[in-house]
Assembly symmetry: C2
Homo-oligomer: 203 residues x 2
DNA sequence: ACTATAACCAAACAATCGTTTGCTTTTATG
DNA sequence: CATAAAAGCAAACGATTGTTTGGTTATAGT
């Protein structure tokens, strides 16, 4: 069979620009607080033109979300690849990468924390699935910790993620660095577990 | 002086019903995801009728927010009044009340966690102020803790609040009780601080 | 040069949004 | 009963929403 329609006139230049602008709006205004016209206007395009790149507003959010998960995952895995320490040090490295990406990285990662799946009914399950994929890394990291028997590792992980993802709500640049904050957060959870007497917090 | 216009035909029955319905929508759909018509419909009223009770949608949200702060504050202070223990036990009591109110109390308190001030531009400062009033309680509780010198108590408190307010995003009734979760969350932060060697996490 | 696709414009669509206005019903008090 | 305020209805206002449709320009391969 001959080469049928092997054209490729150009790359999607504007598509990535639109994604970046959309990420900014979604982070600052939320999903329902952002209009297609907001994004199009900042991109120097007309509202309808966005529908060449994305079939719907929800699909645009999903694309931003996917990019965010990919970026923060890449940051965490890169940090882990460069860390040869023990389980606590590896967890700390991942948390540093996580927080640095949230606070100083692009807006893509922040969308993951800002936009709730229930805000996007048509794609809620997909967003949850994407987030779960990323958090699997933390499940493994927490599982590797030398925690006292009886410790609820699931709760421990959710505590940590809750504390980390809460930082963007109060963080102000100039005081502590994101890395320092992550280190302190992990440290505050670390020593607590070292001398616990396994006294029954569960039966 | 004679009694001039001392009428009071009735109390604001419907007003509180509207508030409760609004709280439910704000929690589940967010502020921008909730329409006046949604609330009015569930209240069995017409959209315009809400404007007799509240001058605007934002004012309605503020009213819900205020009620939420009052309820969760009352729960925390009641728990503290009934607790004669040490600083850690008092913190635990407040956290239990906080989490129980968030997970099992009315929707009013959940609105505080769900709706971000930036979603309501015209009342953002007021919402922040209301939240800060409540969190002052936790500032005092954390200040009273016997933490090792050099510990950033502000970060410690923000970690705790972050972990607590994150629970509604993953909590599923039937497993652990809210009280149990709060106790474990505090416990996970407690022992960490007991044997810290004051090794410089800050200079 | 011809053609097919990419990329976007221009303009509108129906639906929904928060809100306003004028009128009616209800309710408690004198 | 009379009255005045409370509470709500009915209906619309202009603005904004996500989206569609058809036409236009740009670009690259044959």
């Amino acid at each position: 069979m001959p080469t049928l329609a092997t054209h490729k006139p150009q790359a999607n230049n504007r598509r990535e620009i639109v994604l970046e602008i959309a990420a900014g709006f979604f982070v600052r205004k939320g999903f329902n607080g952002t209009s297609i016209r907001d994004i199009a206007k900042e991109a120097g395009m007309l509202p309808g033109s966005l529908y060449y790149h994305f079939p719907s507003k929800e699909a645009l959010l999903v694309a931003v979300f996917e990019e965010g998960v990919q970026r923060i995952s890449a940051a965490a895995e890169a940090a882990l690849a460069a860390c040869q320490g023990n389980a606590w040090e590896r967890l700390q490295a991942a948390c540093e990468a996580h927080l640095v990406t949230l606070l100083e990285g692009s807006d893509f990662a922040s969308v993951i924390v800002r936009v709730l799946p229930q805000d996007v009914p048509g794609a809620a399950e997909e967003l949850i699935s994407l987030r779960n994929d990323y958090e699997k890394t933390f499940i493994a990291l927490v599982d590797a910790l030398p925690l006292p028997a009886g410790t609820d590792r699931s709760l421990f992980r959710l505590m940590l993620i809750g504390a980390l993802n809460h930082v963007p709500l109060w963080y102000r640049p100039g005081r502590e660095t994101p890395s320092n904050l992550a280190r302190q957060i992990v440290a505050n959870l670390r020593f607590a577990q070292d001398n616990t007497k396994t006294e029954g917090k569960r039966t």
